[in-house]
């Protein structure tokens, strides 16, 4: 059994910044991540990030992951990879850690002896930052090989350098669908179409414009009717939908594709938080069931904080800020100076507010406020 001041679950942008802030304030800090590489989703974000200079906009996500990891190490954070937290009770995290080959897809020849261990970590404070999970979409043929989450396809091309198929149909025109379509083309694939069930493209216009000028049609008010093929996807049928989401008879169209990527949103990966006893609230604007948290990112369970997509699906830039906030507040609650660093907290809150302004993000700001309002009555004082 190990004892630490601060245990962080998830080594993405939120988890790493939480750990950095905790360690900077003297907390013995460990970060646990189930994946073989720290960085969360950043390690496959090969595009330049949006946002402001403070959020390293213009820098590619992969480089932000590197910088954060090195900053964490240099502040004394211990990052444990392939370490899956499978239970939390009171202050104890139960962890299963495996050692062995680097890649589950391309195992190296030498690394044949993988082994594992389990360990318990007792933490005075816990920050949960497990991120989001991709939503699935059910349609006839959805279990055929070749149907996958857009995030999975992105992992295949950008992390493992495997192109999942030659001719791809993207379902969903949010930012994930648009960006992954672009990256599939960069990887050498052909995106036959992007379809979107709503009448409007949900992602940024600049991402849509980028793939439009590469000749990819973006079909709004279109849905997938089904996929078929012998032993894997060989074709997809798409159709128009009317304003009440019914398929317009006779509008079906068959596309010859070998891969169908699903990009219909993310939801907070709240299972572990729920297991730990955190109360959840259903918030459509934040992606679904979200752990209730106050403005200090503390949940309804004393000593457990959350940050990043787990606290509502947003962007890497907001995850970086929320992680900092959670780390500062968790560390502050361990010291006599409970107020923490009011100036720094205020500055972070200002930046979050600015990131959540504008037509794309205002509804998230409203949903966050609603959540914090609920927390007033449910979180520890």
């Amino acid at each position: 059994m190990r004892e630490v001041d601060l245990a962080v679950v998830g080594a993405g942008p939120a988890g790493l910044t939480a750990a950095i802030e905790g360690a900077k304030r003297g907390c013995s800090t460990v970060v646990l991540d189930m994946n073989p590489h720290p960085g969360g989703q950043l390690i496959k974000q090969i595009h330049k990030f949006f946002g402001s200079r403070e959020h390293r906009a213009g820098t590619r996500g992969i480089e932000i992951a590197d910088t954060l990891f090195h900053e964490a190490e240099s502040t004394g954070v211990e990052v444990m990879v392939r370490a899956e937290v499978y239970a939390i009770h009171d202050s104890t995290l139960e962890v299963a850690q495996t050692f062995g080959e680097d890649s589950p897809i391309l195992p190296s020849k030498e690394a044949t002896t993988s082994h594992s261990r389990s360990l318990s970590i007792v933490a005075r404070r816990i920050v949960l930052a497990m991120g989001g999970a991709e939503n699935a979409l059910n349609f006839p043929g959805w279990t055929l090989p070749g149907v996958m989450g857009a995030g999975a396809a992105q992992t295949m091309i950008n992390l493992w350098r495997v192109l999942p198929g030659e001719r791809i149909l993207m379902v969903g025109a949010g930012n994930v669908g648009l960006i992954v379509s672009y990256q599939l083309m960069q990887a050498g694939g052909e995106v036959v179409a992007v379809i979107e069930a709503t009448p409007r493209i949900g992602g940024y216009g600049v991402h849509a414009a980028k793939i439009s000028r590469a000749g990819v049609p973006i079909l709004t008010s279109h849905t997938i009717v089904g996929a078929s093929g012998e032993s894997r996807v060989e074709r997809a049928v798409i159709a128009k939908v009317d304003p009440s989401w019914r398929i317009v008879p006779g509008s079906e169209e068959e596309l010859e594709v070998d891969t169908i990527c699903i990009a219909v949103g993310l939801r907070p990966n709240a299972r572990l938080a729920s297991l730990a006893g955190c109360k959840l609230h259903y918030s459509p604007s934040l992606g679904g069931w979200v752990p209730i948290h106050n403005s200090r990112m503390e949940t309804t369970v004393p000593r457990i904080y959350i940050a990043g997509d787990l606290s509502g699906v947003e962007e890497a830039s907001t995850a970086l800020e929320e992680g900092r906030l959670a780390g500062i507040c968790a560390a502050a609650s361990l010291s006599k100076e409970r107020a923490g660093d009011p100036e720094e907290i205020k500055a972070i809150e200002q930046r979050l507010l600015s990131l959540r302004s504008g037509p794309f993000c205002q509804r998230r700001q409203d949903a966050k406020q609603e959540l914090i309002g609920i927390a007033e009555t449910q979180c520890p004082k």
Binding site: H47, K48, F49, F50, G51, S52, R53, A57, G58, T59, R60, M185, Q186, G188, P199, R200, I201, Y204, G205, V206, H207, A208, A209, K210, I211, S212, R213, A214, G215, V216, I218, T220, S317, S354, L355, S357, G358, P359, F360, C361
Partner: protein
């Protein structure tokens, strides 16, 4: 919020004319200038600092659309590779007699070669005319966003925004 870009995937001429980052016809005719085709209020501002002439302003809040001071823009094109949305183009209607040049970010392999004849495409990816590759720039400061400049007949300069990709 804008309409056409959200239903079609790229901005209409009308939307561009109303955008604070798009230069006037008068300025375009004077020589090299950038066209910032960023018309939605998204939280992003690297272009502001990319311009050594301080011709691009976003200010506060960060969701403001970029504003181009077209008299300050000298058409150096340094901002083209710095826009994370790949939404800035450098247009030179005075490139040569009868031909204009359009520079755009191009993050695909293989890269075209200087002197190569290419098929120039519009914002919808439809072929518009043939063009000649004038320059392919990919210095370190571009951080792996190469900028390709093609020469096309003047009348197509406001339409051409890319080239047909060659398949590996």
């Amino acid at each position: 919020m804008s309409q056409v870009i959200n239903s079609r995937g790229y901005p209409s001429q009308q939307e561009l004319r109303n955008a604070p980052g798009y230069p006037s016809q008068e300025r375009l005719e004077k020589g090299p200038v950038v066209a910032i085709e960023c018309i939605e209020e998204i939280p992003c501002n690297p272009c502001e600092q990319a311009c050594p002439q301080h011709a691009i302003t976003i200010g506060t809040p960060i969701t403001n659309c970029p504003h181009l001071d077209e008299d300050k823009c000298i058409g150096c094109g340094l901002c083209v590779s710095q826009c994370p949305g790949l939404a800035i183009f450098l247009i030179d209607l005075t490139h040569s007699q009868g031909s204009a040049s359009v520079a755009f970010p191009y993050e695909y392999l293989p890269l075209p070669k200087e002197g190569q004849t290419v098929c120039a495409v519009n914002r919808a990816g439809e072929p518009v005319c043939s063009g000649t590759v004038v320059r392919v720039q990919n210095p370190k400061r571009n951080d792996r966003t190469p900028v390709v400049t093609v020469a096309v007949p003047c009348k197509y300069a406001t339409q051409v925004r890319g080239i047909l990709r060659s398949r590996r």
